[in-house]
């Protein structure tokens, strides 16, 4: 209100525009600045065009080419008709969902702990979270294979500690896949959650306590709701990355956990069927975009109630 008052006051004292030359010049300046910005962005736009738009277009095109080299819907028909494809998609979503859930259960408390530490210790924790992040994915996956195998470190320790009597199968199945994937995905969840938590003013919790909330009540009524945007962003990132994950489930799943990405590879390497592989790729892309679209509607809703700074 005060601002609009100021605006009208300023307008009122302004002399009448002399002949419009200034207005024209100002418009030209603005256009020039916009062009300069576009020029700066153009290399990036060009790269996006070359490595994203064109390949995806090509993928889309190939997926409609049948075995005989002509236009055909057979690649998509096969997916609809064959039960094995449905199972692969189901597995993909199940593994992604479980990985995301485990990441939340492990990552959220850790992020909360870090957000409450003094900055110096929080940074130490952050580096330990990031350290595996900077190590090769392949190395970490094979490390898990070594640790989790039948006569590996985990089994041997558990047996000598008396936790279980004989080696149990914790790799080459869903367990191993989840352990590996959670380990690799955890930083993607922790970082956004931690950032959101750090941005929650400490005064909010003080205010809640002052108004009569026990620490537990204050957490669930104030801190947790305010941390959900980060939790949501982190979970979404983990889930979407999981959907297209290949290396870890391929190595630690032992052929028992078949995800879409692995089927794409086998379609090309085993059957040399580019059309079928492309169709799978297209469907995965569309499903991923659908997940993003649904999530973005929630995110927008969240901004409406959770924004404010």
């Amino acid at each position: 209100m005060a601002v609009s008052d100021l605006d009208t006051a300023r307008l009122g004292t302004e002399p009448a525009a002399e002949d419009g030359a200034n207005a024209h010049g100002l418009r030209m300046d603005e256009r020039r600045e916009r062009l300069a910005l576009f020029g700066l962005a153009s290399p990036a736009l060009l790269i996006v065009l070359i490595i994203l738009v064109i390949p995806v277009g090509w993928l889309f095109y190939v997926s409609f080419i049948g075995a005989d080299g002509t236009f055909s819907l057979e690649n998509y028909e096969r997916m609809i008709n064959s039960k094995s494809y449905a199972r692969i998609f189901q597995t993909t979503f199940e593994v992604s969902f479980l990985t995301t859930l485990l990441c939340i259960l492990i990552g959220y408390p850790l992020a909360y702990f870090m957000s409450q530490l003094p900055d110096r210790w929080a940074n130490v924790c952050l580096i330990t979270v990031l350290l595996p992040f900077w190590t090769s994915l392949l190395v970490r996956t094979y490390a898990w294979l070594v640790l989790l195998q039948k006569n590996g470190l985990v089994n041997n320790w558990a047996i000598s500690l008396g936790l279980w009597d004989e080696p149990i199968k914790i790799v080459h199945n869903l367990n191993g896949t989840l352990i590996g994937m959670v380990h690799i995905m955890l930083p993607f969840l922790i970082l956004p959650v931690y950032a959101t938590m750090k941005a929650i003013p400490k005064d909010y919790l003080k205010a809640a306590a002052n108004l009569g909330a026990s620490p537990v009540r204050a957490f669930w009524t104030v801190f947790f709701p305010l941390s959900t945007p980060g939790l949501f962003a982190g979970s979404l990132m983990v889930f979407i990355l999981c959907l297209g994950f290949f290396v870890t489930p391929a190595v630690l799943g032992g052929g028992k956990v078949i995800m879409v990405s692995m089927k794409i590879v086998s379609n090309i390497e085993l059957f040399v069927n580019w059309g079928a592989a492309s169709a799978l790729g297209v469907v995965l892309l569309v499903l991923t975009l659908a997940v993003l679209w649904v999530a973005s509607r929630f995110l927008k809703l969240d901004n409406m109630t959770g924004g404010g700074h």
């Binding site: 005064d203 205010a207 809640a208 306590a209 002052n210 009569g212 009540r217 924004g307 404010g308």
Partner: protein, 382 residues
């Protein structure tokens, strides 16, 4: 009832009659007793053996420069800072180890700390929900609290739709909604622009008269403290320098720090000669008490000094001085002069039409008069 209260709103004059008292009547208010509270951070004494009594229903301001310990003391009252030792009682109840959520004191935070994921009504109703109040009663109380701060009908707004002044009011409504008997405020007006701040000072004052809860208010703004408080506790280096009413604090400061911190003042060294007190070459006539101290100084408020004509003295202390500067400030003028002993003195006087031109100019000599009743003598050198 709520419309009735809105009509008699907090800005209306003379709403002090107890019959309309909104929530708590003054008899419900609790006195606060602070005894020997000490808090150290490393080697720094944030609070150094602080004792303070806030009477039931009193508006007490903790005033001091930044880092003086005033906020630490408030945080001890709220329970957010754990002191090393000492006692804190609300009424007869020892509170020093009570966690903040069981203290039942209202608090307005400097940055309001309104929950952005709740509406205005959600924020104001938050303490009531925690107390499991029935929904109907809660809604009525929320509306009443919002009416009290003149935000009736704003319940469904989001916090980010409010202006700074409105947020301030919501924070206030939230802190009084559960009818605490003690209200704490941590520089609640510092984020507002000056005009709004001036208005809110008066409103807070009226609200306090109406609700009657014991209020402890922290500020570094002395004018704000003088405007609002029943009594002011001046805090410096973790100690309370003086506790007194605003007038007393201004007119009878007990030490150099208070004299210097409150209002504008100049200090002139006093020397003793044959039992008489000499200040800047003048034998001092005074009706004020003289502290027991080897070193004394005379505190001079700019507006208490008069420019006197040659010869006329009227029993005043007269100092010869040379004008160094004369400044026009609209409603008043400010004249700077140097006394014989080299002390710089400021003189403030009201401007009337045409009188400014007659004032002595820079370089001219002037005689400055100080009434014996205005000679405040402070222990310590100038």
């Amino acid at each position: 009832m709520s419309s009735d209260l809105a009509a008699g709103g907090v800005t209306a004059r003379g709403t002090t009659d107890g019959s309309r008292s909104l929530s708590t009547s003054p008899t419900d208010a609790l006195p606060i007793t602070v005894r020997n509270v000490t808090k150290t951070y490393g080697s720094v004494h944030a609070l150094d053996d602080v004792s303070l009594d806030v009477e039931s229903g009193e508006f007490m301001t903790l005033l001091g420069p930044s880092g003086s310990g005033k906020t630490t003391l408030l945080m001890v009252l709220a329970g957010f800072t754990r002191p090393d030792s000492g006692s804190l009682r609300f009424g007869d109840t020892e509170m020093i180890r009570t966690p903040p959520h069981l203290r039942d004191v209202g608090m307005v935070f400097q940055n309001y700390a309104l929950f952005p994921h709740m509406t205005v009504a959600g924020n104001v109703g938050y303490p009531l929900r925690l107390r499991q109040m029935p929904k109907a009663e809660m809604e009525e109380r929320v509306e009443r609290a919002l009416d009290t701060v003149q935000l009736g009908g704003y319940g469904e707004r989001r916090i980010d739709q409010l202006s700074g002044g409105q947020r301030q009011r919501v924070a206030l409504a939230r802190s009084i909604a559960f009818e605490p008997r003690i209200l704490l405020m941590d520089e609640p007006l510092s984020a507002l622009d000056k005009k709004l701040r001036d208005r809110m000072q008066i409103e807070l004052r009226h609200l306090h008269e109406k609700l009657g809860m014991t209020t402890v208010y922290v500020t570094h703004d002395q004018r704000e403290a003088l405007t609002m408080s029943d009594r002011i506790a001046v805090v410096n280096h973790g100690r309370i320098m003086q506790v007194a009413s605003p007038e007393r604090l201004y007119d009878q400061p007990e030490n150099k720090f208070v004299a210097d911190f409150i209002g504008d003042s100049s200090f002139i060294d006093i020397t003793r000669a044959d039992g008489a007190l000499m200040a800047a070459g003048t034998s001092l006539k005074t009706t004020r008490p003289v502290p027991e101290s080897s070193a004394l100084s005379l505190m001079v408020r700019p507006e208490r000094v008069q420019i006197v004509a040659n010869g006329a003295a009227d029993g005043m202390n007269v100092f010869e001085a040379a004008v160094t500067d004369l400044v026009y400030q609209g409603e008043s003028f400010l004249l700077y002069a140097t006394l014989k002993d080299g002390t710089d003195l400021a003189v403030r006087g009201a401007n009337r039409t045409g009188t400014f031109a007659d004032l002595p100019k820079s370089g001219e000599r002037v005689r400055l008069g100080l009434d014996p009743g205005d000679t405040v003598i402070i222990a310590g050198e100038a």
